[in-house]
């Protein structure tokens, strides 16, 4: 059995670890609240934008924007992968990456390669080994702005325009609630309205475009994609904090259990030492 002193140092070191995990848990909890607020604040824009895009799909414009047209042949697909910058958040990133890898392999079986654009340091580190990274950005901090994302999104949109990729997916963790984050792969391009929506509003109408349809739609669709990506980034941020909070809570609890067990072992060892000393003294006295 380990000596008393050894056990005591072990307890001490676990206590120190527990302090750290507990602090991280509290930091993550407060950051999560802010991230959730940000998520809620950006939702109206995304909803309104989706409405406009849906209206647009019902209108019968004289100019069909390439982002709204299905491409018959798919030769290469693109992914914008949103991840966290830091670890210690449970299986959040790994679950997401596993889903992406599965999707990529499914495409590969059909002879379709993929290009990747990563947001966040973890995705960059992971996909460097497996995929062709076209653009990356990381260290957006706790308050990502739309401005930070414009560059990376543009790289992928340019690739789409040039026909280098024929589909564009957004990959991020969807925030269901504090305990549940759902890895999501969402098709952004071509932008397809849902089938049931198509049945509504059957009559013919079109917008007045100023100055002309092409200029308006170009600007609008780029903003649409940016808003989707921004929403994904904000949502993934909330997921990161929630996952970290849960992971750190589990770590603190485990540390507590370990300390309890070690304290028991320490007391047993101490008692055994006392008993041994006593019996030695008694035996010594009897011998005299």
């Amino acid at each position: 059995m380990a000596s008393g002193k050894e056990i005591r140092t072990k307890i001490k070191s676990i206590q120190n670890t527990q302090k750290i995990t507990r602090a991280m848990e509290m930091v993550a909890a407060s950051k999560m609240r802010k991230a959730q607020e940000r998520m809620a604040a950006s939702r109206p824009y995304a909803d309104k934008m989706r409405n406009v895009i849906h209206h647009l799909a019902f209108a019968h414009p004289e100019y069909k924007h390439p982002y709204l047209l299905e491409r018959t042949e798919v030769k290469r697909v693109g992914y914008i992968i949103v991840s966290s910058d830091r670890g210690l958040c449970g299986g959040l990133n790994n679950n997401l990456f596993r889903d992406v890898m599965r999707d990529m392999q499914a495409w590969k079986a059909k002879g379709v390669d993929s290009s990747v654009c990563t947001i966040g340091a973890k995705a960059a580190a992971f996909f460097r080994r497996f995929a062709n990274i076209k653009a990356k950005i990381s260290h957006l901090g706790d308050t990502p702005g739309v401005n930070d994302l414009i560059g990376t999104v543009k790289v992928m949109l340019d690739a789409y325009d040039a026909g280098e990729i024929d589909r564009l997916y957004l990959v991020f963790n969807e925030f269901v609630n504090t305990m549940t984050q759902k890895p999501t792969i969402e098709q952004m391009l071509p932008a397809m309205p849902a089938e049931e929506d198509k049945k509504r509003l059957g009559y013919h109408w079109d917008y007045i475009y100023e100055p002309d349809a092409k200029t308006v739609l170009d600007g609008l669709l780029v903003r649409y994609i940016e808003s989707l990506v921004y929403q994904g980034v904000v949502e993934n941020g909330a997921c990161e904090m929630a996952a970290r909070m849960v992971a750190m809570k589990a770590a603190s609890d485990n540390a507590g259990n370990l300390i309890d067990e070690l304290a028991l072992a320490y007391n047993k060892a101490r008692q055994a030492a006392i008993t041994q000393e006593l019996s030695e003294i008694v035996a010594g006295a009897a011998a005299v």
Partner: protein, 141 residues
């Protein structure tokens, strides 16, 4: 009762305005446009400037937008602003600073790209200043 139209102004980071108005005036790319209820469907990009909302009873609200897109449906106007901030919250010093920086960049221009960038910055700063002046005048009245 006078006819009204629902107006939503949102930016990617927050919701700015949501309510009803009698009509609104918007800095569209081709020039200032006024939209009344039952306007036909329209889509247009916006220039930096102020959106003025005329509410029932003659009340008027001004909101600065630095560009974006406006969608008009007969009873709903949606403005997707790039970054829209309440006019009263605008920081005049920052606007002046931006204007100065933009003018400086205009003075020692080198590339065509930089010139275009500086011009938009200048336009933005001017629009912000105009809004501030108007708000201030209204407050002192």
């Amino acid at each position: 009762m006078a006819m009204t139209i629902h107006v939503d102004i949102v930016s990617a980071e927050s919701e700015i305005f949501s309510g009803v108005a009698e009509h609104i005036s918007v800095p569209a790319q081709m020039g200032e446009v006024g939209i009344y209820p039952r306007h036909t469907q329209m889509l247009t990009p916006l220039k930096p400037g102020e959106v003025r909302i005329f509410k029932h009873g003659g009340e008027e609200e001004a909101i600065y937008v630095s560009g974006g897109v406006m969608e008009v449906q007969p009873h709903v106007i949606t403005i997707l602003s790039d970054t829209a901030v309440r006019a009263a919250d605008l920081d005049e010093a920052a606007a002046l600073e931006a204007k100065r920086a933009a003018e400086e960049a205009l003075a020692n221009r080198s590339g065509g790209m930089e010139l275009a960038e500086a011009q938009t910055q200048l336009a933005e700063a001017m629009a912000q200043l105009q809004t501030i002046a108007r708000v201030r005048k209204k407050l002192s009245r």
